[in-house]
Amino acid sequence: MLRYLLRRVAMIVPTFVAVTFLSFLLIHLVPGDPIEARSGQHGIATERLAELRHEYGLDQPLWRQFVQYEQQVASGDLGTSLVTHESVWREFLQFFPATVELSVCALLFAVLIGLPLGVIAAVRRGTVLDYGLIGVSVIGASMPIFWWGLMAILIFSVMLGWTPVSGRISDLYYVEPVTGFMLIDCWFSDDVGACRSAASHLILPAIVLGTIPLAVVARMTRSAMLEVLNEDYIRTARAKGLSGARVVIVHALRNALIPVVTVIGLMVGTLLSGAILTETVFAWPGIGHWMVESVLRRDYPVVQGGLLLIAALVMLVNLGVDLTYGFLNPRIRR
């Protein structure tokens, strides 16, 4: 196990260097250079341009810039925003908790609803219920979630007035950001109104972001359950006279969970892609919103640094999934 772990962890280093190279290269494909591109139609004085280029090291040969960039990244410096003059790292940390909070709630929604639905569909295979569920999950997987988010706002916020339209919490409340997770901070602040406000802001975006994962989880659970329910040991368990519910929940579901857990782990990329759209629709101040804003403002250091951090995040989660899987399934440790 230790050798598998070490090898898998060692593999991440060259991949990460390659990822930094790719994000470095992408930014250098910008026509002109980041400074010129940002100066827009008004142009910029030649001396000032040269000065800025020197300041950002853009007058150096490309390979040296890359080496410098690698050194910077290795020392934890991801550059400074051209707009806010804040460090990219600090901005990322500022927006990151909001995305985590949203994504975790979306996943919870997907699993808490998707898992039981998948199990029920598998047990009641071929019934109207099963077909209905398959239909709904295919629709869910095809959903343009930016539109789904807007429709949700239109129906639940504008027409029914149940939830607020956008943001994380009402302006009426101020909560000391201790952890950065609004729900937890509200909990500690003992302010019931703030808690309620934060929760009501969170619920709609979480449902919207959780829709595609819900469809995937329900489908995956159903097919994994169908496979497991055909196994001999399930027949044995039934033959022993165990109750139907016990066989399904204790014997079948436990084994069916392995592929489902893997799929959930590998969904982090999908979730982040979805977060970009969901956060834009709901004006949710997370990293997806931050990246889109930076792209639209042509704030290249932020785009580059953000891209890198998000890629690193996905790599770490994938590593975690692989290691868990290796732990659960000894056959793949070789």
Partner: protein, 295 residues
Amino acid sequence: MLQKAITVPTPGALRLFWRSFSGNRGAVLGLAIMLALIVTAVFAGIVAPHAPDEQFRDYFLTPPAWENGGTTRFLLGTDDVGRDILSRLIYGARLSLLIGAAVVGLSLSIGVVLGLIAAFAGGVVDVALMRLMDIVLVFPSLLLAIVIVAILGPGLFNAMLAVAVVMLPSFTRLTRASAMAELSRDYVTATRAAGASTPRLMFDTVLPNCLAPLIVQATLGFASAILDAAALGFLGLGAQPPTPEWGTMLAGALQYYQRAWWVLTFPGLAILFTVLAFNLFGDGLRDALDPKLRR
């Protein structure tokens, strides 16, 4: 082209395929929607009641025909500058199908070539190509597409290019995996022994036998290409405003959708049904082409 590729294996395969495919009601529904869309897109000029960019100055934000204040002249209502939404959706279908076809065509052809090269060359080339694809996969797909568009500049063409790049790894990996499986078969060895050149082996001998999974993946890719291009359009990075692209129409509806639900609802439904049709069709194809699942 789809049908031809499927008939290749043995005579009667098409009938076998159809029997299996038509048993799947969802897939047949998907096929029907797809055909309807294609017909609408081809004959957009005849089917659409108005030109997509014609502005009717007396009809700003007219509701759909069945609502109070609606008129049968504009069945699905008009937008903020008095353009007929139905006509724009019909022309948008043309655009979306073109986007899907162009993106999948580009990504598939490059992916197939790269995959075959990786499978045939093996060794360092194989490892290098596959690692590169792994690295592309590390980035969340929409984020990578956004960054690529940010660099190339917003616009429909660049958005299509970005989506094609994002989809490349799936085609490359799939081609490589199926080609590797074929390479160890006797018929490949025999053809090689008969003196066939490597390109001939690649495209003439091996590729036709790898087509089934590629066709399925291409159909599903069509759906995600349309979805991603619409998302880019929605973020203001894809097709630019006067273009009747569905995602761009949604972005334009943002300011007043709270008073005029129809400007938001219909373009989204168009995207949903189109993507759904291709996904249903793709799933049906997979089940029909995969002998393991055939009952």
